[in-house]
Symmetry: C2
Subunit: 226 residues, 2 copies
C-alpha cells in the first residue's frame, strides 16, 4: 500500500555519542530544500499510516544508517514560524550510544552524516539548535538521577574516561580526588583487575559497572551526586 | 484576522488537583462529535497561527474556566488509529493545582466540567485513559525528585494531609511514624505554631513549607525518600 507523508508533522533525533574524549551529536548535511546544504539533526516527516513512535528509527536509518537505537522523547516544538515553508510541528527524540558500536554512512536523503562535538555544533536549520539545547537539558537532568553515562562508555573503562564523560555532559570540571571518592561511595563500579593496553602513558585500571547495585538504586531513587 | 484549526493536531490537559482527601483530575463531558456525551480530558485542536504551547491554556479556559495554570509537557500520542475520524496526533500537558484556589465551570464546548478522583475515572474517549496513565507516571517520577506535592496543598497543612497526598499520588500507604521521621530529616517543614480550627477531632498542628531549604535541595539534587 502506498503511504503519504503528513506534511505538517515531523520528528527530529538528537543522538548523543561519546568517543572517550568528547560528547558529540550526529548531524547530517541536508540535500533537500529548504536550506539545502545546511547542517541539521536527522529527522523528517511522519507517514499517514505510521505510528508516530516508529518514525524516528526509520528516518535515522534512512539518513545515517543507524539501527537499534533506543530513543526517548525530548518534547514538541511548535512555534508558528519555526519552519520556513509552512506550519510544521516537530517532535524531538534523543538517545545515547557508544560511537564505537555503530558505523554511520549518509543515506539517500543526506549529503553527509557526521559526529560533531556538542561544543562545536554550527548554526543548524530551523530551530534545531534550540532542540539540541532542550535535549542537553534532559540529558543533564537524567544524568543526576541515573548513571546513564554508562550507556556511552565501552564495557570496561577507566575512571578518567568516566570523569571526562560527566565533565562533558555537565559542562564542568571535577576535582579528580573528590570525583573518585564520591564514586567509591556509590559502589557502582567493579574492578576488572585489568589494565589499559597499548597506551603510551602509565596504564590505568579498567572498571565495569555493577548492574545489580544500579537497579536497586534506581528502585529506591537516588541522586548521582558528583 | 480569521484563523483556522489544524485538523490533525490537538492538545490535551491532565489537571491534577487535591481536596485534602483525594487526588483528582479535571474532566469534561463532550458536547461535540465524535463521542458526544462521553467523558474526556480537556483538549482540542491547535490554530494555524497559534504557537503550540499557547493552545493548552486557551482550551482549558474555554472548556473549564480555569486560567493561570502552569502546564508541563507529558508527551505526544500518535498511534495511527487513536482518533476515530482521521489521523490526529495529540500533545499532552499536565499541571498540579489546589482545587480550592479555582472555580471551574463548563464552557461553551463542554456539557460539564468536573473533578473526578483518579481512582474513579471512567472510560474516557480515544486514548485519554492512556494519557492519564502517562501523566501519572510523570507525576510519580517528579514527586520523588521535588516536593511538588506542596503545589497541591493549602499554604498551611497538617502532616496527615501531606501523608494522604503522597499516598494518593504514589498509590501506597506509609507508616505514620516512619513518614514523620523521614520528613523531619528533610527539614522542609516549618511549624507555624498554629493548629487546625473548627475540626471535630483533636486539632492537629499546621505546618508550612520552607522554600529556602527546598531551593537549595533542588540545586544539589535530592530524592524525596518517603
Amino acid at each position: 500500500m502506498e503511504d503519504t507523508l503528513i506534511d505538517n508533522l515531523s520528528i527530529d533525533c538528537v543522538i548523543f555519542g561519546f568517543d572517550n574524549e568528547e560528547l558529540k551529536i550526529l548531524c547530517i548535511k541536508r540535500n533537500t530544500e529548504p536550506d539545502f546544504g545546511m547542517m541539521a539533526l536527522p529527522g523528517g516527516f511522519v507517514y499517514l499510516q505510521e505510528d508516530l513512535d516508529k518514525a524516528p528509527a526509520r528516518r535515522l536509518k534512512d539518513l545515517t544508517g543507524l539501527t537499534n537505537v533506543y530513543m526517548k522523547e525530548v518534547g514538541t516544538f511548535g512555534n508558528v514560524n519555526r519552519y520556513p515553508l509552512r506550519r510544521v510541528i516537530t517532535i524531538a527524540y534523543y538517545a545515547l550510544i557508544k560511537i564505537s558500536d555503530y558505523v554511520i554512512h549518509a543515506g539517500e536523503d543526506a549529503q553527509e552524516a557526521t559526529w560533531i562535538p556538542v561544543k562545536q555544533v554550527p548554526q543548524m536549520v530551523f530551530d534545531h539548535n534550540k532542540i539540541l539545547e532542550a535535549a542537553l537539558t534532559k540529558l543533564r537532568e537524567r544524568v543526576r538521577m541515573e548513571p546513564i553515562g554508562f550507556n556511552l562508555l565501552p564495557e570496561k573503562f577507566t575512571i578518567t574516561e568516566l570523569q571526562t564523560l560527566y565533565e562533558q555532559i555537565l559542562d564542568t570540571k571535577f576535582d579528580k580526588r573528590n570525583f573518585r571518592k564520591k564514586l567509591a561511595k556509590m559502589n557502582l563500579l567493579i574492578d576488572t583487575n585489568e589494565k589499559q593496553q597499548n597506551v603510551s602513558h602509565r596504564a590505568a585500571k579498567l572498571y565495569r559497572f555493577d548492574k545489580k547495585v544500579y537497579e536497586s538504586l534506581i528502585k529506591k531513587g537516588f541522586v548521582f551526586d558528583l
